[in-house]
Amino acid sequence: MSNAKPRIKVPKTASKDEVITIKTLISHEMESGQRKDKDGNTIPRKIINRFTCTFNGQEVFSCDLDPAIAANPYFEFSAKVPESGTFTFEWVDDDGSVYSDKAEIEVS
């Protein structure tokens, strides 16, 4: 799909210092730059090259992606946060586009 669209799954609530699981998925072809079109020309690389998850501005988890990551990149990872706040997710495309999403969590 041309229009990259993220999906995220974050628990709405957690207890303090609980390790929670976060799942993210984004629609993206991850064109590797290794493929050729019907005329034998190399299809230019166009991938998401970086993914970042921050919590209240602090980095929780990030990843540098290479073309060997499958289409529609999926990440599952964990987080442990001390207070209520906002997770921000960002995906950076080779073409400079940044796709983002947010999720609130209430920590008690």
Binding site: M1, S2, R7, L25, S27, A70, A71, E76
Partner: protein, 285 residues
């Protein structure tokens, strides 16, 4: 080199494994539960059916692939369901309408609808599948251009609509119009050997069902999960795309999407899987 040699190798592979009869292995016994709802993926076949039991292609896949379909977040096909929902609500065409203008909330109006397609269309004098019905709505009601076969919007919208029937048993009405005739025509096509490899649908999915074609575990070829997310292409595959791909792989000329030949085949193949739950978007290799 590549292409020609690859073709020969593929042909040799197909012939070799069929000639050898290759290995048989039972589909995996497991339960498919999606968001707490158990799907019917293995059920007794009706008396007049060539199989004793109907088995979803889900049971022929690896642990990892089965798990991917079972999780409605992890299933990448759900990205296309979400895209389809946007299209459902987007105004398009001269009439200034969206799908939702007439059909409102798809979770109510489309529940079970996808499970009953293809359906007899009296005005057209032929069965309509979801894609044809969508195009008719676009032209007649929305005054929009019909989608070209496998346009990303067509695939996403069909996926979204079919997904509204997730878990519902596939059941088509053969009593309407000439559906029975189309069923018979589809049955003839199913058993017709074609191509340089001289194979019919039935060769793989009936005679050699459960065996391996090279490393692929051959399923019964049920279509209850279409459109289906393919790990191979990292995208959705429509049913007529799959039909054409299968026929192409027998090294035969393949009919156009939505042609009478393939519409008849869709009627027949859908009938073969009646009673299995709609799994759209299924995940397959």
């Amino acid at each position: 080199m590549g292409k020609n040699k690859l073709g020969l190798a593929a042909a040799a592979g197909l012939t070799a494994s069929l000639a050898l009869g290759s290995a048989y292995s039972e589909p995996v016994e497991d339960k498919l539960v999606i968001d707490g709802r158990e799907m019917t993926t293995w059920t007794e076949a009706p008396a007049d059916h060539p199989f004793d039991e109907l088995i979803s292609g889900w049971h022929y896949r690896t642990d990892e692939t089965r798990a991917l379909e079972a999780d409605s977040f992890e299933n990448p096909g759900m990205l296309y369901v979400e895209r389809g929902e946007e299209i459902w609500n987007a105004v398009d065409g001269a009439a200034g309408k969206s799908c939702a203008s007439c059909h409102q909330d798809a979770s109510e109006t489309m529940a079970g609808v996808g499970a009953s397609y293809p359906k007899w269309n009296e005005a057209a004098g032929k069965p309509y599948n979801l894609e044809l019905q969508i195009n008719e709505c676009r032209v007649e009601q929305m005054q929009a251009e019909p989608y070209k076969f496998d346009a990303p919007e067509q695939v996403a919208l069909a996926t979204f609509i079919k997904h509204q029937s997730l878990g519902e048993p596939v059941e088509i009405d053969l009593a309407e119009g000439d559906m029975q005739k189309w069923w018979e025509r589809g049955k003839d096509r199913y058993y017709l050997r074609t191509g340089q490899l001289n194979m019919a649908c039935a060769t793989c999915h009936e005679d050699y069902n459960g065996r391996y074609i090279r490393a692929d575990h051959l399923s019964q070829g049920n279509v209850n999960g279409f459109p289906t997310y393919r790990l191979n292409t990292g995208g959705m595959v429509s049913l007529h795309n799959r039909f054409r791909g299968c026929i192409r792989d027998t090294r035969a000329e393949f009919p156009a999407a939505f042609s009478d030949d393939l519409m008849a085949l869709e009627v027949y193949v859908t009938w073969r899987g009646q009673g299995l739950s709609v799994e759209t978007p299924a995940v397959r290799q």
